[in-house]
């Protein structure tokens, strides 16, 4: 998250480079994947699993 904040600072500048844009998008994607791993271990995800089981029963 800290890294993404730093990159956001760079990408807001007018003289940003294509490397800044790539870093921003890849760091954002990396963050999404990390959040997904964490979410999979959470109680909230167990609630989603139960909801999906119910949904697919009907």
């Amino acid at each position: 998250m800290e890294e993404l904040k730093k990159i956001e600072g760079a990408i807001k500048r007018k003289d940003r480079t294509q490397d800044d844009i790539i870093k921003y998008l890849l760091e954002s994607k990396k963050q999404t994947i990390e959040d997904s791993y964490k979410f999979a271990k959470s109680e909230e995800f167990q609630v989603i699993r139960r909801k999906l089981k119910e949904l697919n029963k009907s």
């Binding site: 294509q18 490397d19 999404t32 997904s36 979410f39 999906l52 949904l55």
Partner: protein, 165 residues
């Protein structure tokens, strides 16, 4: 036929569905407001990064090919645009395992198969200083009121920088 899905929302506008094999996918549309600069353009708040994530896989190996996943993803895409019609979706593939071109090809197949002509896609390639290539797609409704400005902004951030490579 597609799989049933649920919309959970949250910061990343999350959707979930479960395949017949018990694999659970999460599809997200994450706000990405700074792609075109400092986040003050008319359409900055409508830019979202699209991701397809495996949230639960009961097997040790990667899931087998399943045409329903593409169909379900397309339905979710449509549902998101019903909720937020002026959205601009960015798709950049995860490149951490160097499989970004395979992912991009699969995404392109889904798009051409399930697009009902309402959507408009622009494909470009970002190139970093090490000459590594990153395919990127931008998708919006053809009826988006900022369509031309968005296309110009997208083309200029890619084109201008690639001229230096």
């Amino acid at each position: 036929m597609s799989y049933n899905f649920i919309f959970e929302g949250g910061i990343n506008n999350s959707y979930f569905f479960e395949t017949k094999e018990g694999i659970i996918y999460q599809i997200t549309f994450k706000p990405t407001p700074y792609l075109f600069g400092d986040g003050k353009t008319k359409f900055s708040d409508f830019i979202f990064e699209f991701s397809v994530l495996i949230e639960f896989n009961p097997f040790d190996k990667l899931p087998k090919s399943d045409f329903k996943i593409g169909q379900t993803s397309a339905k979710i895409f449509n549902d998101f645009y019903i909720k937020k019609g002026n959205s601009i979706t960015i798709y950049i593939c995860d490149s951490s395992d160097n499989k970004q071109l395979i992912r991009k090809r699969k995404f392109d197949i889904w798009f051409s198969k399930y697009n009902d002509i309402r959507f408009f896609k622009i494909d470009k390639t970002l190139i970093d200083t090490n000459k590594k290539r990153f395919p990127i797609s931008l998708i919006l409704l053809d009826s988006n009121p900022y369509r031309n400005e968005i296309m110009d902004s997208f083309t200029s951030i890619i084109g201008q920088n690639n001229q230096d490579k």
